[in-house]
């Protein structure tokens, strides 16, 4: 595969990072391959200790990987000199969980910091910083200091600062984890908006499943320094048995009937829309003539595609079951045995 393929904004190849702790080696990253397409919102999902922080520090060049490559815009940053690396770091804008704004500076001056570092004139810095504050909806707070801003406003300043040097990729390190639900929602909306309006590539590193479901086009599941599953969200949801798929599926209410053969069905995209509109003649269940009784259902968008998850009991005669299953598979229903709901921790 050509490493400078133009549609890939950020790529890691066999990324490995080993820390020495006393006399033992701790493997933080164990061969991580990522490919983030330009304009994509890409999720890195993992619990604490999965290697997320190390991955971020490798992506923005604050940590040198033990082996493997990190390419931003086709440039392998692991091969750069210190000063070239500093310049390249500007290609990745960072948004932090704890905002990391300078208390000694106003919102405007915080946004201007990356421009100051590059040596842009005061007048241009001011103009550009004002524009960015306007973009994040804070133009009337330019002279406020961080202590006078709410958590959500601080993060908006953080996002404006991250965009100041016009990065290729915006890297968000748990950007909404320190915010209440409503504020987090508005910050995520802002990120979605920036993604759409500016075509900004965004990498969201998070332990929050809901953030990935709401925001991402594609994601990887990171566990013990390894990518255990990945792909576009719609694809993952259509693989109900896969680790990422199991996490992404809408949760079903507990309970359900026992005795009959119970199956979970998953529909993605147009199929999901049809199956939820139960009176639709196109209902993929009816069209196949499979006799099922609906026990529970959940429906929500995953990665921008509607996903329907149904728990059904097969009502046909026993000898018919195998044919029913085959028909359901043919209908794109991904039939599988109901499994206990997964938490991210145990996935």
């Amino acid at each position: 595969m050509p490493t400078d393929s133009p549609d890939i904004a950020l790529r890691t190849t066999a990324l490995r990072k080993v820390f020495r702790r006393g006399s033992t080696d701790v493997v933080a990253l164990d061969g991580v391959d990522l490919a983030v397409a330009r304009g994509q919102v890409f999720g890195v999902l993992g619990t604490s200790g999965a290697g997320k922080s190390t991955l971020i520090r490798c992506l923005n060049g604050l940590e040198r990987p033990t082996t493997g490559a990190v390419e931003v815009d086709g440039v392998d940053i692991t091969a750069l000199s210190r000063s070239a690396l500093r310049a390249q770091r500007r290609r990745i804008g960072m948004v932090f969980q704890q905002f990391n704004l300078l208390n000694s500076r106003s919102a405007l001056q915080n946004v201007a910091l990356p421009l100051e570092i590059v040596g842009i004139s005061r007048k241009q810095r001011r103009e550009r910083a004002l524009k960015l504050l306007d973009l994040v909806g804070l133009s009337d707070h330019a002279d406020a200091h961080p202590a006078q801003l709410s958590g959500g406003q601080k993060q908006r300043v953080g996002i404006a600062r991250a965009l100041a040097a016009e990065p290729t990729v915006l890297l968000s390190d748990e950007a909404t984890s320190a915010l209440d639900e409503q504020t987090a929602g508005s910050v995520l909306d802002l990120l979605s908006d920036l993604n759409r309006r500016l075509g900004l590539t965004i990498v969201l590193v998070t332990h929050q499943l809901a953030v990935v479901k709401r925001m991402c086009d594609a994601a990887v599941l990171l566990r013990e320094g390894r990518v255990v599953d990945g792909g576009t969200l719609a694809d993952a949801a259509a693989r109900p048995a896969s680790p990422l798929g199991r996490l992404l599926l809408p949760a079903l209410p507990d309970g359900g009937e026992h005795g009959a053969e119970v199956l979970d069905l998953v529909f993605v995209g147009e199929q999901a829309r049809r199956v939820m509109a139960r009176d639709d003649a196109d209902d993929p269940l009816r069209a196949r003539g499979v006799a099922v009784e609906l026990l529970a259902a959940a429906y929500e968008p995953v990665g921008g595609e509607p996903v329907a998850r149904l728990r059904v009991a097969l009502r046909g005669p026993v000898e018919q079951r195998a044919a029913d299953r085959a028909a359901l598979t043919a209908a794109g229903a991904h039939p599988h045995e109901p499994e206990t709901e997964l938490e991210l921790e145990t996935a």
């Binding site: 923005n60 060049g61 604050l62 500093r86 310049a87 770091r89 500007r90 990745i92 960072m94 932090f96 704890q98 990391n100 704004l101 300078l102 208390n103 000694s104 500076r105 910091l113 990356p114 100051e116 570092i117 590059v118 200091h145 961080p146 202590a147 600062r161 100041a164 040097a165």
Partner: protein, 217 residues
């Protein structure tokens, strides 16, 4: 109190202020430099130089552990080499500065260490060099705390400057010893103490106001 005594105290106060002022004017930039170096050369810090760090730390600690009155005497040859004399306020400024730099450097180091690592990381990920991290993040963010540290140091220097009187350094300490102690002029002793108390209050007040003004938290 006679007019003569008032003049005496006034002159001594000016001498003390001169000693403290010049000593601090030299201490602040040099102490900042040493403090920044102590921080940046530490293990895991950007400039990581364990040997330099240990050596610097040793010098600073030795400087701080020698009692000032002994340093005053021990430095007499050095003082003569630097300012050409060993008596008077100018001569006193040399040992005062030598004793104060290590003290202030440690205060600077601990103030800078209080700046959250995330702020440094934010600047680094925006492409900041080590020098930019110091000038744009560490020092500005620690400024209120640095001012508070400089206030403490100034008051310490004021105390040391009184001791300089013991070796003919001039200032309030000198007057208190020569008139108050050796000639049993208790009113002079009391007057010098009162002036010192007032000076300490003033320095603390100015420091507090400045520190609060600079703090935006």
């Amino acid at each position: 109190m006679s007019d003569e005594t008032v003049d005496l105290i006034w002159e001594a106060t000016l001498e003390t202020l001169r000693m403290v002022g010049v000593a601090m004017a030299i201490t602040i930039p040099l102490g900042l430099l040493v403090g920044v170096l102590l921080l940046l050369t530490a293990r895991g810090a950007p400039l990581q130089q364990p040997i330099v760090n240990r050596l610097l730390g040793l010098i600073v600690n030795v400087g701080r552990s020698v009692p000032f009155i002994i340093l005053l005497v021990a430095l007499i040859p050095f003082t003569r080499a630097v300012v050409g004399t060993t008596i008077g306020t100018t001569a006193a400024i040399v040992p005062l500065t030598v004793a104060t730099i290590p003290f202030f450097a440690r205060i600077v180091e601990s103030s800078l260490r209080e700046v959250p690592a995330g702020l440094v990381e934010a600047a680094q990920s925006a492409g900041a060099s080590d020098r930019q991290v110091v000038t744009k993040v560490l020092v500005p963010e620690a400024l209120p705390s640095l001012v508070a540290g400089a206030t403490i140091t100034t008051i310490g220097v004021l105390g040391y400057s009184a001791m300089a009187g013991a070796v003919g350094g001039g200032g309030l300490g000198d007057v208190a010893i020569r008139y108050g102690y050796q000639r049993y002029e208790t009113d002079v002793t009391i007057a010098t103490v009162v002036v010192l108390v007032v000076l300490v209050q003033l320095i603390q007040l100015v420091g507090d106001v400045l520190s609060r003004r600079l703090s935006h938290t």
